[in-house]
Subunit: 172 residues, 6 copies
């Protein structure tokens, strides 16, 4: 299969925050943002693979900034790295100041999707070639995140996670 | 403040999977499950703290089992450990076989919530005392997960994460 | 078929009240509560019968207490009595005070469900054995409610409703 | 206050049945129909009283006919009788055959609403004058239903419910 | 096929405006009103044709009056003219003053629907006979609107739109 | 106020078609597409004006292509021309073939929005400078559409609509 670039799957979903999606402080529920990111990431995964795709895992997500009712929210998703039948999708969330229009980063998250056929069986997908510096950096980090994911799921022993060991041991 | 137990916050949300929540394979969207878990965990956090609570982060979540349309899904959330103003919430997801009624584990996830006052400022919460073996095990693991969360957010250097280092280095 | 107990079907659905479910006084719409109770009761009926179940009737429901926006609402449903192919489901609705956490009864309702096969034809279900005093009391009352239901639907003559006649005539 | 007629409050809500509102047999959920009827009845109560209105109770409702996905459903609500601050609302539900267009009765229900001021306090409402034979019949039956409602809520002793006693005793 | 009248398809959809349907000024979103009108018009088209119907086009719609949160909105749709396989549907939107109950026109719109068989192929529909003066006026105007629609879609040359040319040239 | 370009307001909303949004042929309801386009156009209008914006009118919209369940739909909106307090927004709708990923035009529509202050009063907005050939063409056509809109709303006499007269009369 011919390699694709992150731009081939880049998916932009701009929408506002409605009253039914907010908590008692009038900010977007964390759970609603997780669901929106999943929808955008799912489309990106489909654009890369041209297959049905299902969510396999969600990496650690931190909610550092509240997103108020009425905000314009842009969720941008693109494939950061592919493995045999799975893809890592990087998601950036932006909000705009209502008056100045200034755009600022509200969140980021990393989801993994698996491509499947109509019976739900995992299927091979095209490789990816990162182009920009940011895309290369995200591509590099993906292997470390995959090891972490396997360790956390109990499918790899911590001592075999070479990339992670290096991270925690530092120069020692 | 008087210590509470996980049972004081235990929240059970049983509901079915509707057609509008399913993907092309007729299984529950990962994003919908993330949103349901957030709602249940948010109620558990509120029951423990008696405060407004907001999602601070979501730990790594793996979706190992598909949840088909029409399934009865039970999301069960309870506080596993408290810190000054934040709480770790452990969430177990169960589904039932439609004919035998047999209940099996479909998923688990860990969310962190912060208790805030009406202006959104973090507020102190009661401590927690784990009772059962499972609750004690989850209580113990929470410190390691908090370090991992800080490292991933770039707020702690890997080499200072003593609990994690021990994990990755093992006996070596 | 082997008898079951009310605990075998007990279904707990805890959730909050969202802005899109409230009336101009910022309280939960009566109709939304009726729909939530129907979903919980339907799951209880399915758990007892392991069949597809459809709502057959709803007994008289009184809305004595308003349920404000943001409340944590627990709907608890369990089979109270079975007949050949139908089940009476008793539903208790609780709300919690946001600050003290004190739980109080907001409502109760009684729905009847019929178990059907895939073609919609009524099907036999297991009997039930009440265990607690409250369960026994609800089991006893069910026959009187069934007669009332038949009279109101014009399917039984009032003078044949022996249980009801006794109620209205008293000792006189 | 000047008397009104049932036509002054008659409310017609015609809509279709969507996939997200159906059970595994592809028929409208009982709970969804209860919620639609509540919305139509609430508008009828508001049209009669020109006040905020809240659901006070729902009489016994039987679901005799399944309403399939895609059906055109007409919910028609009108005030049948008024008391000091409350109104009985009669609701008829019709469905149409998709091919012949023949309209048939699918259901009926009776809700009671209370008119309140902006603080939630019950407020006096105009009286009603039934015009047609059907309206007169429903007006007459309302007193009997109100007694039944009070007896079921434990607010009236069965032996004081004169209208009901007559019903159950017959000519005796 | 036997001719029908506009009353045969007249569809009334009365409902309130919920918080999740409003913009920052607390008025109904234009897009929500467009969707409600489409649902009502679709039912009217189905009542006239007894076929599956799909939206073919929407004429120019002006939003002259804001519709506030909590309003009672009545959407009334009826066929104004038929062509071979398509129908023009006229939609009137009314709102009521909350206190006086006075009904006033908030909007009107014109949609065109096509009747199709189960494979999506356009199908012949019955003709229509307008009865009232308003119905006759709308029937007459439909031909001019159809020409405008064809011109705007680039399917008719402006100079062949005889009805329209007369309009723009006037007596000159 | 400094002039902006169409790119300054360009808004992209990519999402899928869910089962609850489809008609009996399993295609997206026309009304749902109208509502999605309104949301995207409203954000574009807000980005251009940095004000609250409300839908003023929708031009003629033709639905030439069905959009099947599960499709990936991209709604792209940008300001095409500004007047004193109102903006014309051009909306293009694209769908992608599920297997080849080929993108094709499904629809286009033109909405007009008015910028208002917090009291709902119309407010001046920045002018716009079209850059590309397509943007210039849309900018030019906007005046003709505005005249048509005024004529259809009865606010301009057909004989005064100079741009339109030229169109219908041709060279004559």
């Amino acid at each position: 299969m011919k390699a694709k670039t992150p731009d081939d799957s880049r998916t932009i979903m701009t929408d506002t925050v409605l009253p039914s999606e907010t908590n008692p402080l009038n900010n977007l529920f964390g759970g609603e943002l997780l669901a929106r990111m999943d929808r955008a990431a799912s489309i990106a995964a489909r654009r890369h693979s041209r297959r049905i795709t299902v969510t396999a895992s969600v990496n650690h997500v931190a909610f550092n900034r509240a997103i108020p009712l009425g905000s314009v929210v842009t969720v941008e998703a693109a494939i950061s790295r592919t493995f045999n039948t799975s893809m890592e999708v990087f998601i950036d969330v932006w909000i705009e100041d209502r008056f100045t229009g200034e755009r600022s980063k509200a969140n980021e998250a990393i989801y993994t999707f698996v491509a499947v056929d109509d019976t739900g069986k995992p299927t091979a997908i095209p490789p990816i070639t990162p182009i920009t510096d940011l895309e290369k950096e995200r591509f590099e980090g993906a292997l470390r995140r995959k090891q972490l994911s396997l360790v956390l799921a109990g499918k790899m022993k911590p001592k075999d996670a070479t990339e992670l060991k290096a991270l925690f041991l530092g120069d020692s």
